[in-house]
Amino acid sequence: MMLNSSKANKSSKSLMRRFPIYLMMAPGLIYLLFNNYIPIAGLAIAFKDIDFRKGILKSDWIGYKNFEYLFKTKDALIITRNTLLYNAAFILLGIVFGVITALLLNEVSSKRLLKFFQTTILSPQLVSWIVVSYFVYALLSIDKGMINNRILPLLGIKEISWYTEPKYWPFIITIMQIWKTIGFNSIIYLATIVGISSDYYEAATLDGATRNQQIIHITLPLLVPTIITLFLIHVGRIFYADFGLFFQVPMNSGALFSTTNVIDTYVYRALLQIGDIGMSAAAGFYQSIVGFILIIISNLIIRKFNKENALF
């Protein structure tokens, strides 16, 4: 009897205990429900002909029509190609420059100097693409830009109308992306390098290995797991582009769309500048689904390879 009541008491007590925990989680869960889960359900509008007079729920289902329209256009191919090629370049160059910078940072023995280099190299990461687009403008503006006014005349080249010539933009965009992310990438690799046990280096020194031999035969091989992990994470995101880089830095210039339009900018323009909900919903659906599949696959590979770094 006593045992029973104490048990009942305990379970009601534990419920009393748990209830506040659920209450504490509620705001976060409600936010995620609205901000993340309802839009996921809302992907279904890609199969609808949205008519605001009827309301979103009552608009007609039209099957794959939106997708048929989308994939008939030249744009579908262009935005897919641009998104994939830019990301491929960003991933490879990001690794190369990130690793080299990290190795260099590791050679700096003065703590203060190291902090100074870290601070400056990370500073581009702190500002928005908007601010970046301002100095790109100061460099490239046709009549006021520094390059057209000061640098090209020195080289004897005629001024270039940067914001209407698509052929230069693959380089400009890639350079700006590397510039902005080099600090971020190098910090991650540096963290791995710093974590390498000094035993390896001591043993190598005893065996007479030089500093540079140690870098090539110890540091680099031990960086490989981190490199592969970051590579896979970025491959998982290869269907997503940085909207600011592709929209703001080229100043939304229509003449540049052949080399600056990516899925994200296409969805935005179709929705808010052209007002074609069907088309933008179809492109968004395409991105969400393919992007999701890629993230799952890359994560499965990461898991095989290094469980600690997998998201799930």
Partner: protein, 293 residues
């Protein structure tokens, strides 16, 4: 010996990298202090033939709009970061309790938000049709920025591994309520991760411009980034009355090309100033977040 040479070579190369990383900021700064006619005739340059503070004097005369944009930025950054941090921490605290009913499902639901995303179109339609967020201050705070599943996961793993679970138990046995355990034990012991996540979120709010681009057509709730965005995409926008009724009179004397650089400078300076103090937490955030995506 080789180590010394290495250090020297590394420092030399890194000095070049460092300079190329900060030189664009210097170009902005110099541009804002260049005489406007010099910009029109000779373009932006590191060595202008004539210096001038006219851009700042001009901004000083018509402070109203800039102050408004600044207030929006400061308010949304402070409010959004604080609210987001507390909501995320409470959610993460709940997720630590494995014995809770539905705990596995809830953990999965939070994780899934990192993996899968409905994208702009349904999100936009929900916020505008269901919440009527268009042209309100909430548009700068709620959509996508407030709670990030990834930060919740970071907080959760810190709460789980860096705080001895016995502390929680001891407090509970002493009769502390759950809220008390959270606020008096969990949070004070988690200051490093709270600083890291808070910094990342604060930065995201300060630099946020997408919400303004999507949800604001009225300039009243523009933050600094939105003002900068509009200015550059349409410099003629100045003539459309954003700078108040005095605009037409002032426009004749306005040093447009240096003013836009001055506004950019004003937008960046606070971050670059406080950043060295928070660098430790920022680097921590990158290394924690980087390898996990």
């Amino acid at each position: 010996m080789q180590k010394k040479i290495n250090t020297l070579v590394a420092c030399a190369i890194l000095a070049v990298v460092s300079i190329s990383c900060i030189i664009p900021f210097i170009l902005l700064l110099i541009g804002s202090f260049t005489d406007n006619n010099v910009i029109i005739n000779e373009g932006y340059s590191f060595f202008p033939s004539k210096w001038s503070a006219a851009a700042y004097e001009y901004l000083g005369k018509d402070l109203g709009t800039m102050i408004n944009a600044y207030l929006v930025t400061i308010f949304t950054t402070a409010f959004g970061t604080l609210l987001g941090l507390i909501i995320s921490a409470m959610l993460a605290y709940g997720l630590v309790h494995n014995n809770l009913k539905g705990s596995r499902t809830l953990n999965f639901l939070v994780l899934f938000t990192i993996l899968f995303n409905g994208g702009l179109v349904p999100t936009y339609l929900m916020y505008t049709q269901l919440f009527h967020i268009k042209n309100t201050i909430w548009a700068q705070i709620f959509p996508s920025l407030l709670v990030n599943g990834f930060y919740v996961m970071l907080l959760r793993s810190y709460f789980r591994t860096n705080i001895p679970q016995e502390l929680y138990e001891a407090a509970r046995i002493d009769g502390a309520s759950e809220g008390c355990v959270f606020f008096r034990i969990c949070l004070p012991l988690s200051l490093p991760i709270l600083a890291t996540v808070g910094l990342m979120q604060g930065l995201a709010y300060w630099n946020s411009w997408l919400n303004g681009l999507y949800y604001l057509t009225d300039t009243k709730y523009y933050n600094i980034q939105n003002v900068l965005n509009r200015l550059l995409l349409d410099i003629r926008y100045l003539q459309s009355g954003f700078f108040g009724d005095m605009a037409s009179e002032l426009l004749a004397t306005m040093p447009t090309d240096s003013v836009i650089m001055a506004i950019a400078v004003i937008g960046v300076i606070p971050i670059l100033f406080i950043y060295p103090f928070f660098q430790k937490y920022y680097v921590k955030g990158i290394t924690l977040g980087g390898v996990k995506g």
